[in-house]
Amino acid sequence: MIAELAHQVGFVARRSVRRTLRQPALIVPTLVFPLFLLAVNASGLGAATKIPGFPTDSYLDFAITVTFIQGAMFSSITAGTELATDIDTGFLDRLQLTPLRRVTILVGQMAGATTLALIGALAYLAVGIASGVSIKSGPGGAVVLILYAVFIAVAFAGIGATLGARTGSPEAVQGAFPLMFAVFFLSSMSMPRDLIAVHWFRTVATWNPASYLIEGLRSLVITGWDGTALWRGLAVGVGVLALSFWAASRALATRMART
């Protein structure tokens, strides 16, 4: 049973990875846009490091984390649009006519988005280090940073898959991207929470789970091994993963009405 499931996941995953790697239109924006935004922020917001209490004297070190989060958002959209495309073109029906289980489709379909997230994370780290980013937690921390970023991307991919399965429309999934960006904008993405001067913004950022994902990642770069930040970030990540995959599974069950 487990072997059969793993066998099926392998086939769906291989197809998902092949598809993703053969679409430059998916890979290039994932690599270029987050790095472009990093360059703009690092050059324009450098003065923020002079605010008393700012946790680092390099805004590049502070902002590099946001790049990983943006990469995760791109992966999420990729997972959603790929699933929606399969629904739209009827490919899901083709899969449904095989002995494939629903969970297999969901897990296998994530492989492409996960690969994209891994490629992105490695590229962001390489560019960051080449530009002078210093990882306080050392080489081990860099490995954890990559794994953590991929984990967040997989959790977000569940959100994309939910949207994809619900709407069956790649365009509708892409339309959700600004909404996700807004959620991260209202977090500690650009400024540490305790330095956000506007009261309502600080309150929203404190209640926004996205802040803890970012702070977990960021701690590896600017603090070192901060157990509290990592634990909180991981807890939020697990929560998002569980909720998003539960929702995606339900949405797919509705979509796959086979008897």
Binding site: R15, F91, L97, R258
Partner: protein, 331 residues
């Protein structure tokens, strides 16, 4: 509950959609093992909805159906193991090659690694895609995609094959090649074929029996010849060279059969004894001194059957029901 019938048995099958749309309305049919059954009807008649129910992709609202002896509702997995399907949308992945499609389909159907490659190569060769096997499907023509779709449906050696409008949009050459392959599958391999089509010629050429569906109901069923025979024999139409002879031409033809529908410039009769009366008709018209501009013998077609049963021509019927049930089939 499984039955011993290895073909398809449908009993009172119904599928409704929101808005009280009866896409399929209480249909009964039976397809014997090894038979090619043509399911003919205009767009929106209920053909694809029926296929979706019989392939387990859509639960019926009411009624019962067994495919290869298995109930489509209670034994969906067993049904799927025994069928292959090429649905209306070819549903291929433009970023994969033909061979990668075969490998994926074979793998998901549980074929062993050694068998996957050989089966893929064999089927790609059979549908004439050996040379294109390692090219991405995005560069395939419509005919190539249809042929790959057919090959994919056959990977796990199904005993029943569902083809939903397999030749729609194909050029005559590709259509003919696909017909040959379907015919070979049924005649040589004994595969039962359930084929939906809106092309009269396709049903006429391929199907052992035809079911004609309109607005969710089966309006006629039988062999193509029997259906045509049922609505009457051949008709002959004569168009005189001199329009003043029209009335006399009608009187001559009336000796050979009942008056039939004709063009404004002609007279027509439904022949009581068929085409063998034609020489006598020509002689009679000649004896009456009527010179002919045109003489045409017309055998009934399945379109005539559709016209007789529904009061509409199959060609135009789809436009009337374009936005109806079939478009509402959920994925």
């Amino acid at each position: 509950m499984s039955t011993n019938h290895r073909g398809i048995v449908v009993d009172g099958l119904v599928r409704t959609f929101k808005g009280d749309i009866h896409a399929v309305d209480d249909i009964d049919l039976e397809v014997a093992a090894g038979e090619i059954y043509g399911f003919l009807g205009p767009n929106g008649a209920g053909k694809s909805t029926t296929v979706h129910m019989l392939t387990t992709l859509l639960p019926p609202t009411a009624g019962r159906a067994t495919v290869a002896g298995f109930d489509v509702v209670a034994q969906g997995a067993d049904v799927r193991r025994n069928i292959g399907a090429a649905l209306q949308d070819t549903a291929l992945d433009n970023f994969l090659t033909g061979r990668e499609h075969m490998d994926l389909q074979a793998g998901l159907n549980g074929l062993a690694k050694s068998e996957r490659a050989s089966r893929g190569t064999e089927l790609l060769e059979r549908v004439g895609l050996t040379e294109a096997a390692d090219r991405k499907v995005g560069g395939y023509s419509g005919g190539m995609k249809r042929r790959l779709d057919l090959a994919l449906a056959l990977v796990h050696r199904p005993s029943i094959l569902f083809l939903d409008e397999p030749t729609t949009g194909l050029d005559p050459q590709s259509r003919s090649a696909l017909w040959d392959e379907v015919e070979r599958l049924a005649r040589e391999d004994g595969v039962t074929v359930f084929l939906t089509t809106q092309y009269l010629e396709e049903a006429d050429v391929l199907a052992d029996r035809v079911g004609i569906i309109d607005r969710g109901k089966i309006v006629a069923e039988g062999t193509p010849d029997a259906l045509k025979r049922d609505i009457g024999g051949d008709t002959v139409e004569a168009i005189p060279a001199d329009p003043h002879d029209l009335e006399r031409a009608g009187e001559v033809l009336a000796r050979f059969g009942e008056p039939a529908a004709h063009s404004p410039k002609g007279a027509a009769a439904r022949l009581s004894q068929g085409a063998e009366q034609l020489p006598d008709i020509v002689r009679a018209l000649d004896d009456a001194g009527i010179a002919l501009a045109h003489l045409q013998l017309h055998s009934p077609s399945l379109d005539d059957v559709f016209l007789a049963k529904t009061g509409r021509s199959l060609e135009g019927a789809g436009e009337e029901t374009e936005a109806a049930p079939e478009q509402a089939v959920p994925a």
